[in-house]
Every structure is written in structure tokens, then in C-alpha cells.
């Protein structure tokens, strides 16, 4: 129960930080914001690596492997496409 309370604390505080910071992003950058935040949501990769690396049973390893592939596509694709877009905004 204590762990849950701690996790909820982090969740609520992070939400507030998120709202404060993200409302300041101008509409011009809303597409890179979406694709960039999309890449950040690939953080679930961390969990995928742990599952694939634990190798408890074949099934969990297979699930972990698939999760690593999906999450890595999400992370690499997301950050790269965001970079491509943001560079267009930089050049004058």
C-alpha cells in the first residue's frame, strides 16, 4: 500500500509539471510535441528490456523481445522524425 501511495504521489506531481510546461508550447510546434512525446512514451522499453533479460520462461522472453522491438521502433522513430521536423523550423 505504501508503494502505491508513493507511486501516486509521483504521478500527481508529474502531471502538474506536465501541464505547466506543456501549455507553454506554441501551436507552431504542436506536431513535433506530439511526435516527441510519443517517443518519450517509448520509455516502456525499460520494462521490456527487463522482461526480455530475465529469461524466466520462454513465453516471457518472447513477450519481452516483442516489447523491445515495438518500444524501440517507437523511441527511435519518434525522436528521429521529431528531429527532422524541428530542423526545418531552425533554418531561416
Amino acid at each position: 500500500m505504501e508503494a502505491l501511495a508513493m507511486a501516486l504521489t509521483v504521478l500527481v506531481l508529474a502531471m502538474f509539471v506536465g501541464f505547466e510546461v506543456i501549455t507553454k508550447v506554441p501551436p507552431t510546434l504542436h506536431t513535433p510535441l506530439t511526435s516527441g512525446s510519443n517517443a518519450v512514451s517509448g520509455i516502456t522499453l525499460v520494462g521490456a528490456l527487463l522482461s526480455a533479460g530475465l529469461q524466466l520462461t520462454t513465453l516471457t522472453t518472447v513477450l519481452g523481445f516483442l516489447a523491445v522491438v515495438f518500444a524501440t521502433i517507437n523511441v527511435v522513430g519518434g525522436f528521429l522524425v521529431t528531429h527532422r521536423m524541428l530542423r526545418m523550423f531552425r533554418k531561416k
Binding site: 510535441l33 520494462g47 523511441v75 528521429l80
Partner: protein
Amino acid sequence: MRLALVNLAYLLASVLFILTFKGLAHPRTAVRANLMGSVGMLVAVIATLTLLDWSQGVGRLWVIPAGLGVGSVVGALLALRIRMTAVPQMVALLNGFGGAASTLVAGAALLEELAQGRLPDAQLAVATVAAAIIGAVTFWGSLVAFGKLEELIHGRPLLFAGQHVLNAGLLGLALLLGAALGLAPGAAWTFWVIVAAASVLGVTLVLPIGGADMPVVICLLNSYSGLAACATGFVLQNNMLIVAGSLVGASGLILTGIMCRAMNRSLANVVFGGVGAEVVTGAAADQVYGGRVKSASAEEIAIVLETARRVVIVPGYGMAVSQAQHAVRDLARLLESRGTEVEFGVHPVAGRMPGHMNVLLAEADIPYDKVREMAEVNPSFAQTDVAIVIGANDVVNPVARTDPKSPIAGMPILDVDKAKTVVVIKRSLSPGFAGIPNPLFAADNTLMYFADGKKAVLDLVDALKRVG
């Protein structure tokens, strides 16, 4: 000690993610911000890899480099080859992959507990079920959104009888089984039935939503992919996942709200309304347009533009479809070289996801400080000599202000009709997503230029050069 160091690395990654969002507040700092995000991800991955048992070499853990390698290649190919017009589809797909990964991780975590002879406690059970449901809905919903944006599936809302009952039933089933899993955590099969029910729900939730509402759906699914990562954080009791996931969740929710306000619709109306399912008949169109539409040639429009001091260009998605961005930039530069002030006015839902039109204009080297958002540009139309509307329709339809019974009633629009002259470049008088005629096309101060967007603008540039 090692665990403490890993947790400090996770803290560093969380801070970098927050700075990523902070840096996106300005185009100048945005490139660096995105790099910070990717460094944060790298730190998190490396820290996690040190937790694994590498004592027997890479051989046993080959699935990890293999998975990272395959994912990196596919992700990089996707990101480098995608056309800017297709970015919404790509984001939809990536959202889905993130959701799928969260579901798989939750499933694996549950099975690991059982394989070790432990029964998951209530927190793990609830978090696992949440990650499973949100992740599966995100994955399948995103695939449907991808299909609609890529036009593999018809963009029109697919409505069927008992839809809402079915969706409620599926969600109810998933939640009920989730409760069952909490009470009898040993029965792993319930997890997969929950995933199956949530998968069907993902499809039936997004199918009824029309193509015009896809920007909202992308934002919403973006938010879900964050919440799924957050739920995975609860499963693994990992604060970094919770921080990153809630940042993404917040971002998606904020954008969803902005998109809904830009269409003057409630989220419930977008998700359940099926707007655009009925096609409005042509009779009303005849009443609006009958004999009042003035068609003009490139030469006639060039003469109007020649004396204009201020021109506002209003692009819609039609401009992107005809690939007219570069021609539009040339027109803007030509006008500016003649001393005309040129600005762009962009409606929040002009593209197929929030900010999409800004990206398309930036790709064509149109400086971002010339691109104004709706609230900024609207007061200036009264002092604008010519407003050029290219490939936009519903977002400049004055009916939104005047007819409370219209499907777009109350939607904020770009007030181009207040400009001295309005030039509308469009293939025909066909209606936009809302399916209603646009009285702007028949207004006294409007000149219609019927042509393909790109060809029209190129001809306009030529005509303007000839005029002098």
C-alpha cells in the same frame, strides 16, 4: 549500491524528459530539447542494461541486442523516409507500438510473478489490468486511425446499431475480468481475455470516428500511450516510467482539449457523435451558390494582387494534397519583393494533426514567424487587402458564426470574409468534411479560382510577373 546508481540514472532521465518538454516552448531551443530527450532515453536504457545478468556473456541475452537492433532499423527507416504530409499516420502507428509494448510488458511481468511461484498483490494486479486495457486499446485504435489516415479504410464514420452498447459491454467485460484477476491472480488466461476484449474495443471505438476528427483521435491515443507507460510504471514500481508516462499523458490531453475547442465540440461528441456520417443534399448548395459565384482567371487575380498592400494566405489540407507549398512560398516571396506585406493564417485543425500545417509550411522554407495562429490573425483581416484561401473550406465558412443550426455552429473560424477581397483557390464547389455549402464562395467580395492548387498558384506567379 548498484540499484541506487541505477535509480539516480533514472532520475537524470526523468529530468531530461521534463527539460525536453520545456525546451519545446520555442523553435530556437526545440532541436536541443529533442536531443535531450533522446539522451535521457539512452541513459535509461544503459542503466537498465546494467541490471541484467551479463556474467555468461551476450550469448544468453542475444534477444536484447537483436530486439534493439531490429527496432532501431525499422524506426530509423520509418522516420527518415516518411513524407511530411504522412507524419500523422506515422505518429498514429508509433503510438500504437508504444501501447503494444506496454501491454506485452505488463503480461510478461504477471507471468514472471506466477513462474516464480508468487501471487501478484492487488497493486500489481490492478496496474497490470490497466496497462493491458489501455495498451491494447491504444494499439488497435491506432491501427484503425492509421488505416483511415492512409485511406486504407474509408474515412467516413462507420456507425452500426448497438455500437455504444457493444463498447460499454466490452469495457465492462474487461473490467470484470480485471477484478477476477485481482481476486484469483493465478489464472493467467484471464489476462489474455482482457487483452482480447480491449483489442476489439480499440477497433470499435475508433471506427465510428470520421476522418475530419482524426487530429483529436491522434492526440487522445497519444495521451493513452503515455498513460499505458504510466500503468507499466505502477506494475514495475518504476518512478521514471510514471514521470515520463504522465508527461505524455498530460501533453496528449492538453492537445485533445485544444483540438476540441478549435472545432467547438465536446470530446464526447467527437468520440461518440459520428459527425460526417450523413451527406447533406445538393438542394441547399443551389440556394447558396445559384448565379452568385464569380469565377476569375489568374490575370484578373494578379491585377487585384498588384495593388495590394497586405495579403494573408490561408492554407488548408487541400494545399498539401496538391503539393502546392513550394509554389505558395514563391508567390509569397514575389509579393514581398514588390513591397506587399504577406502573412499566413493557420487554423488549429488545418492539417491532419495539431500543428501539421506549420510543419508543411516550414518544410517549404516559409519562416515560422510569418505564420500566425487564428487568434492573432483574425483581428487583422479588416485591414487586409486580399485573403487567399487555398484548399480550405469549413474553417473559413462564415455559417459557423451566423447559423446556430449548422453542424459547424460556433466553431471558431478564420474571418477571411472581412478582407477587402477574398480569393478562393479550389477545384470545385464541393463541400468540406462538414458536408455543407460555404456562402463565402458566393460573397460579393469573393473571387473563385477553380483549379488544382499547385497549378493555380504557379499560374498566378506567372501572371503577377507579367503584370509588372
